[in-house]
């Protein structure tokens, strides 16, 4: 929700980045204020996941230009774990499996690590168990998932739910959900969206990367951005998503080129 005078959480200016020598991001601008929900849409390969992973601090991407400020500090200077502790959270498009690490042990260790760095109390295993079960109820997840290895053998949809469970535990300031809706069945989509809505408040912000307008029926965005070839080329309100759904992306590119020529 757009609040009056809410403060800027994330400010990205002219972000350029390479991976293995190829330029992927080519001058990306984005401003996110607390309380807001943003959706980023755009064709395959336009750089949405690249942008998400750069925000989380993935070392495979080389930032070659631009700035990223998060709550007034230079995000690019922070290690990935420092970003997480500061409140940046990325729900991965493809969450990885970690055989041998129990989900419950993993959740507790990450939770306690982040809590400690935020100057808050850790939870002992029993307290944690209550806490995590309560969060799992929110996502209608069976407690059986605690006994399994992290994401191992989880179905696509179960992995996505496990990502949102982690979001719920870590209570981020800025959550980037990279295609969390892909692979969810209709009921799961509603449940996950519900969970996300309950986590959204006036002090945090959510960036949804999605291909489908359907998700935006459940999580209503304040802004919809269109990304193409490493840049955000159009920003609108939630109606833009409907327009994209019916008209595709081509016209946005055409319109963008036209305005670029006009201003040149």
């Amino acid at each position: 929700m757009i609040y009056k005078d809410s403060k800027i959480l994330l400010e990205v200016r002219g972000l350029c980045a390479n991976v293995s020598g190829t330029e992927i991001l080519k001058g990306l601008d984005l401003t996110v204020r607390s309380g807001e929900i943003h959706a980023i849409m755009g064709p395959n390969g336009s750089g949405k996941s690249t942008f998400s992973k750069i925000l989380a601090g993935h070392s495979a991407y080389e930032v070659t230009g631009g700035t990223v400020m998060f709550e007034g500090q230079n995000l690019l200077e922070l290690a990935p774990e420092e970003r997480a502790r500061a409140g940046v959270f990325l729900a991965f498009q493809y969450p990885i499996e970690i055989p041998g690490v129990g989900n419950s042990q993993f959740l507790r260790l990450t939770y306690n690590t982040v809590q400690t760095h935020r100057g808050k109390e850790e939870l002992d295993p029993l307290e944690f168990d209550d806490y995590v079960r309560e969060k799992m109820k929110l996502l209608e997840m069976s407690p059986d998932f605690l006994e399994r290895s992290v994401n191992e053998g989880f179905s696509g949809g179960e992995k996505k739910r496990n990502e949102i469970l982690q979001m719920a535990m870590l209570d981020p300031r800025l959550a980037i959900l990279d295609e969390t809706d892909s692979g969810l069945d209709i009921d799961a989509l509603r449940i996950v969206a519900n969970g996300v809505n309950q986590l959204a408040n006036k002090d945090n912000a959510i960036v949804l990367v999605t291909h489908y307008q359907r998700l935006l029926n459940y999580i209503v965005p304040d802004y919809v951005h269109v990304m193409e070839a490493g840049r955000i080329i159009k920003t609108g309100g939630k109606e833009l998503a409907f327009e994209l759904e019916s008209r595709g992306y081509d016209w946005v590119g055409v319109e963008h080129k036209a305005t670029a020529r006009a201003t040149a």
Binding site: A79, A84, L90, I98, G100, V101, T110, Q166
Partner: protein, 435 residues
């Protein structure tokens, strides 16, 4: 690799020195077996890097040292060894430097079940064990198995009669207490038709100097028997450990084994499993070594008959300038149709001086089979490290967690919870690098 060392000609004679003094057994076939083993030791030589089966494992150091059979046995109290006990495994056979320690053991003989030392079990079971003892192991071409057999006097003996399930796991605990001693642990497990048992074969040490364990284990599963075999090699840091294990699975029997190697300066484990029709085995292993350790595992899974299943996952975590070797042969013989065999060798190198040689080896002589195998050698996966960091863990914590998990995947397959916890703790300690 350094040039293979020439082996001191007197080496094997020295090792055999104590043998003529062994008391003769009342069983003629056992005396004959020992005599044949002595002959074989006379013919065979100590392997060098020139032998195909030993080309990655240099044991020349072993041959430079002189080990003697135990002269005086040390008497230990429960308090000395209690820390090795495994809560669930209240049936225990304890051997100190290879010698049976009745006062520390809790043998059982009831319902026809025997968990005893061989000397005590001979009278009742001689006929039952004759087809297996010294027959499952091919000591005729294996100098270490031949040496062990030449010294075959006592052993851990487990006989489970038809259709009996032994509820409590059996712990065979081999404790090394003296330096410069060579011991010849020996185990024989006979699981009769339809029986079930879980055994733990455990090698530990109370001292840190060099000694030599040369072990042989033979396991026979009769039709439909089920055996869980957990093998823990946690010898002292300067120990040499060479072990041969032969397992024979009759029709529709099931063998599950997890073997872990943490200890010893140089260790070598040979496991041979032979499967009859519809038999199934899962053979998993973990070697976790560092410093200058060498751990070599050679397995051979022999699909001799159709419709058998074998699954194998072997992992090595190698730190320091340690060296791990895995050679996993899967043999599918002619006529062994519908064989289902899956093997994977996964290796994690923690430093750039750590080294692993892995060699899956498939020999398939049947055409209607499903066999998959694969080997990976690598460092930790950067995407996994990043995933954990993105959840707030430091890079060191993330790496520790993943290294631990890599090993824990094998330890988790141990069906005895207190042993599992104990070994998980060992893996945790050995894989944790302080930031």
């Amino acid at each position: 690799m350094s040039a293979p060392g020439t082996i001191n000609a007197g080496y094997l004679e020295n090792l055999l020195a104590g043998q003529p003094h062994l008391p003769a057994s009342p069983l003629a076939w056992l005396n004959a077996l020992r005599a044949e083993a002595v002959d074989r030791v006379g013919v065979l030589t100590v392997p060098t890097l020139r032998d195909e089966e030993w080309r990655f494992t240099d044991i020349s150091q072993l041959t430079k040292m002189s080990f003697h059979p135990v002269r005086t046995t040390i008497s230990l109290q429960v308090a000395d060894i209690e820390r090795f006990y495994i809560e669930e495994a209240t049936t225990r056979l304890v051997f100190i430097d290879g010698v049976y320690a009745p006062q520390l053991s809790s043998a059982i003989t009831d319902n026809g079940v025997a968990v005893v030392n061989l000397e005590a079990g001979f009278a009742a079971h001689a006929a039952a064990i004759e087809p297996y003892l010294g027959r499952l192991t091919e000591f005729r071409d294996n100098v270490f198995a031949a040496l062990n057999t030449a010294f075959l006097l006592d052993a851990a003996l487990i006989v489970v009669p038809r259709d009996i399930s032994v509820a409590v796991p059996v712990h065979m605990l081999f404790i090394a207490t003296q330096k410069d001693v060579v011991s010849y642990p020996r185990c024989l497990l006979l699981a009769e038709s339809g029986s079930a048992v879980t055994v733990i074969e455990d090698y530990v040490s109370l001292q840190e100097d060099a000694y030599f364990t040369n072990a042989v284990t033979e396991i026979a599963l009769v039709d439909n028997a089920r055996v869980n075999h957990i093998r823990v090699q946690r010898e002292g840091a300067k120990a040499f450990h060479i072990a041969n294990c032969a397992v024979s699975l009759a029709r529709a029997s099931n063998y599950q084994s997890v073997s872990v190697a943490f200890g010893a300066r140089i260790s070598r484990y040979n496991l041979n499993v032979q499967l009859a029709e519809e038999a199934e085995c899962a053979v998993d292993g973990l070697a976790l070594i560092s410093g200058r350790q060498l751990a070599d595992t050679h397995t051979c899974i022999d699909h001799a008959k159709p419709h058998a299943v074998s699954h194998q996952m072997h992992k090595c975590i190698v730190g320091g300038s340690a060296h791990a070797v895995f050679n996993g042969k899967i043999m599918v013989r002619q006529g062994a149709q519908r064989t289902d065999s899956r093997q994977s060798s996964r290796n994690l190198l923690l430093t750039n001086k750590a080294h692993v040689d892995t060699k899956p080896q498939l020999e398939i002589f049947a055409d209607d089979v499903k066999c998959t195998h694969g080997a990976t050698i690598g460092q930790l996966d950067n995407e996994e490290v990043f995933y954990l960091q993105s959840r707030g863990l430091s890079e060191t914590a993330a790496r520790n967690m993943l290294t631990y998990a890599f090993g824990a995947e094998i330890i988790e397959r141990i069906p005895i919870s207190s042993l599992k916890c104990q070994l998980e703790q060992t893996v945790l300690e050995q894989t944790t690098i302080q930031p």
